[in-house]
């Protein structure tokens, strides 16, 4: 046989000890060890005798009577408030029917009787029980959530019929303003298996609700609170006898946001009423506080309560209006003419233009062997910076862009916060894209074409920006160069009303020495509204001067759609409409940025939303006329 083991082989004599005397001494010592083991055995047996025989009757009595159970009590989750303390998210008690399998003498019979009462089939109820098959039997299985008062009263009154059935009170989320700011606030869901594996088991257990998205997720540790404990004694028939003092649950901490419910509502309703999908951001220009952050269409929080169905989720994923996306920070779009402020700043800062520079716009600009058109094909004639911004002349900015170069544009775009995350407390923020020569070489493996600089200069081409970045840029222009980190949470308040954490405006960077340039850009933006030929002069508000910039971002450059009527172009190929503004013009307080996806034009699609927000924000002062007497 060829079979052989590859194990090392012990050769005779190897590891052999021949000292029999010392082996004997060692083996004798085992007797002493035996004595020690006997000692422990005697102690253990005596203890068993004491517990089981001497005290046996007492323990038997305790075993019979004393069936104490510990159950956990869910804490109310922290509320989410707006800047004025109005509740956007709060809680109410939900009465759930649960079954403690171990206490039920006849699970099958109980479920049979429960079915008609709860309006559920026996199969459904068994399904719930089966789902919990891996958990200890003393843990309740929730059969139905949130029963109505009649059912509750019936079950309480006839509780003798349903052995092992308990009513549990659990706080659930209430949204007094409906789906308001739903994409920012997010929603709760049952903790997933994966999350449970990673979670601290002293905090989370199966079936717990946990923040799945938005602030509910980001601020989970503040909002969740601490579970309480309840001790109950159960008799042999499975009915709760008595309740002992437990540990009260500790409610979660409240979040006070910088959002203003009124502004949020107006912006949201305006967008929804017009069936516009897109985003609205309202910022305080001198602090960076976010007064409204709208992303439409919003998710419907009701769909997510108790877990979203596979079908609904799929529909949401496939919806071309992308309701699951928080477009404020997750949507990136070419900025269109809104970018002209960047081009203007770059031109001024590099000294290639000043307030006296006038350029002629014949309606097109020839570069190389291509013709770049101005949106106004008949041309703007001689325009200076103020007029160029006011009328959004492309030809003017083609030339400025060409003189500054793409890397120069990128430098000032970055100084205004573009191409980087703003750092707001929102999930999955995109940084957008500010193209440079090096970027193209690295990513596209192609050399930069000078013609592309012209596209970039008017906000087309590779540029991608989030609505929040544009809002922040507008605020920076309005406040003269201060780039704040947009702030969403104002403070965290503990259940006793004490402020645990207070957030203050955070200045990220400041552009110094540019006061004059910003002044010139602001004049141009004012021209958009107040100028005779301003692109958004129709949005003028009586009694207040404000400044804005419209933008239309091309989605595709397809010749076949040129010359078509707006409603003839397929939705997904329609241009995006931008509108960004600040007010009042003289002493800016807030900026409003609106993006309407495939909204065709900034002025007509997005502008009215911003105007409505401004009119509401300044309503009192407009009525008193205190804003216009500065003129």
């Amino acid at each position: 046989m060829k079979f052989s083991l590859k194990l090392p082989v012990v050769k005779r004599g190897q590891f052999e000890e021949r000292d029999d005397a010392s082996l004997n001494i060692l083996q004798k010592r085992l007797i002493g060890v035996g004595v020690i083991i006997v000692f422990f055995l005697v102690v253990i047996l005596l203890r068993f005798y004491f517990l089981q025989v001497t005290k046996g009757d007492e323990y038997k009595r305790r075993a019979y009577n004393n069936r104490i159970r510990i159950s956990t009590v869910a804490p109310p989750r922290g509320h989410i408030l707006d800047r004025k303390g109005r509740e956007i998210v709060t809680n109410r008690p939900s009465f759930n029917v649960a079954l403690v399998r171990e206490d039920s003498r006849d699970i099958d019979g109980t479920l049979k009787k429960l079915g008609p009462v709860l309006g559920m089939s026996e199969e459904e109820l068994w399904g719930r029980v089966r789902e919990a098959s891996g958990t200890p039997l003393y843990l309740p299985v929730t059969l139905k959530e949130d029963i109505d008062w009649q059912t509750l009263a019936y079950l309480e009154y006839n509780n003798r019929e349903f052995s092992g059935v308990r009513i549990e009170v659990q706080p659930v989320r209430v949204y007094p303003y409906g789906d308001l700011a739903a994409n920012v606030i997010g929603y709760l869901g049952s903790i997933s298996k994966k999350q449970l594996e990673d979670a601290d088991r002293s905090i989370y257990s199966g079936g717990d609700l946990i923040g799945k998205r938005g602030l509910e997720r980001l601020r989970e540790s503040d909002l969740r609170g601490e579970k309480g404990k309840r001790y109950t004694e159960v008799n042999a028939r499975g009915f709760e006898q008595q309740m002992f003092d437990g540990i009260e649950p500790m409610p979660g901490r409240d979040l006070q946001l910088t959002l203003d419910v009124d502004l949020q509502q107006i912006a949201e309703n305006y967008m929804l009423a017009g069936e516009k999908s897109g985003a609205v951001v309202v910022l305080e220009v001198n602090t960076g506080r976010v007064l409204a952050a709208v992303s439409t269409p919003t998710i419907h929080i009701a769909d997510f309560v108790g877990g979203i169905s596979q079908k609904n989720w799929k529909a949401l994923m496939e919806n071309e209006h992308k309701p699951l996306m928080n477009k404020v920070v997750q949507g990136t779009y070419p900025p269109g003419s809104v970018y002209k402020m960047v081009t203007a700043l770059a031109g001024l800062a590099r000294g290639v233009i000043n307030e006296n520079t006038s350029l002629f716009c014949p309606g097109y600009y020839r570069f190389g062997n291509r013709t770049y058109r101005c949106w106004k094909h008949s041309g703007h004639g001689m325009v200076n910076l103020r007029q160029a911004l006011g009328q959004s002349c492309d030809v003017f900015f083609y030339q400025v862009g060409q003189w500054v170069g793409v890397d120069g544009l990128a430098k000032y775009a970055r100084k205004l916060g573009l191409g980087q995350q703003t750092g707001i407390e929102m999930e999955y923020e995109k940084s957008g894209l500010v193209p440079t020569k090096a970027w193209k070489q690295k990513v596209k493996k192609r050399k930069w074409q000078e013609g592309e600089t012209l596209s970039v200069a008017i906000g087309q081409g590779f540029n991608l920006m989030t609505p929040l970045q544009i809002a922040s840029m507008t605020a920076t222009i309005a406040n003269g160069g201060k780039l704040y980190r947009p702030q969403l949470v104002e403070k965290v308040i503990d259940p006793e009303g004490k402020v645990v954490e207070q957030f203050t405006p955070e200045l990220k960077s400041e552009l110094k020495g540019f006061d004059h340039f910003f002044q010139l850009i602001r004049l141009g933006m004012e021209e958009v509204i107040e100028g005779k030929r301003g692109t958004a002069r129709r949005l003028h508000i009586n009694g207040m001067r404000f400044a804005a910039k419209t933008g239309t971002a091309q989605v595709v450059k397809v010749a076949q759609y040129r010359g078509l009527r707006d409603d003839e172009i397929p939705y997904k190929y329609r241009d995006h409409g931008w509108f960004t503004c600040y007010a009042p013009a003289e002493n800016p307080e807030i900026s409003v940025t609106v993006l309407v996806e495939h909204g065709l034009h900034g002025g007509s699609g997005a502008g009215p939303v911003a105007r409505a927000v401004l009119k509401h924000y300044f309503a009192k002062r407009l009525k008193e006329g205190t804003l216009s007497d500065q003129e």
């Binding site: 590891f15 010392s22 083996q27 083991i37 025989v53 003393y138």
Partner: protein, 374 residues
């Protein structure tokens, strides 16, 4: 080629085998009651344990077919395998963001800290067998084994599993005292140990870490819960009375007040259902096996065999004492299983391997004839 020495079969210890089979049987029988399936329950613990136990018996016979002296050599790969597994478990634990003591192998979770105990027994037995010092070991003699113990000790300690890591110290102390230390070595060890402990407590540990050390003792439950468990365990044991409540009839056990009723508290279920008489019979058999283990040590032909036998007995004995003390309310919940009785594959495999080594030593108590086993 390997030929079986006929004397190996003659020396097969039927009594030891009988004791092992008896205890395994009672343990499974008890586990069935402790893990009574609930409606819709999937793969019950007692079924899983039976499968692992069957595997253990196969392993048992594989181990006894090789000369235990091979452990002098095999000990090294075994040692490094355990250390690597512990590192892996620690790394998985660290990335999972919490405590993790096991490596998932699909069918069951492998907990390397369990075989680490046996690995230490073999390592120390091998070292003390080969290095014999007349008049007792000095402090410097035991530095190498101290180092060999320290590595797995630290790896298990940071899991964190203070209970099991202290088990390593207990094994080390028992075996080192057994081979006899010099008084000077005792003095140095005790002063070093207490010095390090006091220093760590007052200077290295921050208050929250001290609290964590306290919860180390009891990783799964808070203190309030622990007192509750001990009380419920005492009620279960006590309510068994003299004759017990009868198999599958223990109300306390089946109330499932203890989430670990089939693991750490498995013996409370036995005590409740079989009463003092049942406990007496079980413990006499269980401790009978330990005494038989000592007898194996006394009849072994060499120092290594004696030390191995002593080590295996020590390993089972201390775990049993700690577990029983916990069930009877003498000790806090420390997460030490009752070997062979508590549910858990890693612990069972380790214990059965230890018992196989015991049988191995017993079967080779004669001096082999020349050329026959090679």
């Amino acid at each position: 080629m390997y030929r079986i020495d006929r004397r190996l079969l003659e020396h097969f210890d039927v009594i030891l085998m009988l004791l092992i089979v008896l205890i395994c049987g009672m343990a499974l029988f008890n586990l069935y009651s402790a893990s009574m399936p609930s409606p819709g329950y999937g793969f019950a613990p007692w079924m899983k344990q039976s499968i692992i136990m069957a595997g253990c018996f196969v392993l048992f016979f594989v181990i006894i077919s090789f000369d235990y002296k091979l452990l002098h050599v095999l000990n090294y790969p075994f040692y490094f395998f355990i250390i690597a597994s512990l590192l892996l478990a620690d790394a998985i634990g660290a990335t999972a963001g919490g405590a993790q003591r096991w490596i998932s192998l699909g069918l069951f979770n492998f907990q390397p800290s369990e075989p680490a105990k046996l690995m230490l027994v073999i390592t120390l037995a091998s070292y003390y067998a080969r290095k014999e010092v007349s008049g007792g070991y000095s402090f410097f003699d035991i530095l190498p084994p101290l180092g060999l113990m320290a590595v797995p000790f630290i790896l298990i300690l940071i899991q964190p599993d203070l209970g099991t890591s202290l088990m390593l110290i207990i094994i080390f102390a028992s075996m080192t005292m057994f081979v006899k230390l010099r008084w000077s070595a005792y003095f140095i060890l005790i002063s070093l140990g207490s010095g390090a402990g006091v220093f760590a407590w007052f200077h290295l540990l921050k208050p929250y870490q001290k609290k964590r050390v306290e919860t180390f003792l009891n990783p799964e439950h808070d203190l309030a819960n622990q007192g509750y468990q001990i009380l419920q365990s005492k009620i279960a044991v006590g309510s068994g009375g003299l004759t017990g409540s009868g198999y599958l009839k223990g109300t306390q056990g089946h109330l499932h007040f203890l989430p670990e009723r089939h693991t750490d508290f498995a013996y409370s279920v036995w005590a409740e259902e079989w009463g003092f008489i049942g406990c007496l019979i079980f413990l006499l058999i269980y401790f009978g096996m330990l005494f038989w283990g000592l007898y194996v040590g006394m009849t072994s032909k060499d120092r290594f065999g004696t030390l191995l036998a002593f080590g295996v007995v020590t390993l089972i004995f201390w775990q049993a004492v700690i577990n029983l003390f916990m069930i009877m309310g003498f000790l806090p919940v420390v997460g030490i299983p009752l070997p062979m009785v508590s549910y858990g594959g890693s612990s069972l495999i380790t214990t059965m391997m230890g018992l196989a080594i015991l049988m191995n030593v017993r079967m080779r108590r004669f001096h082999p004839m020349m050329g026959r086993n090679n």
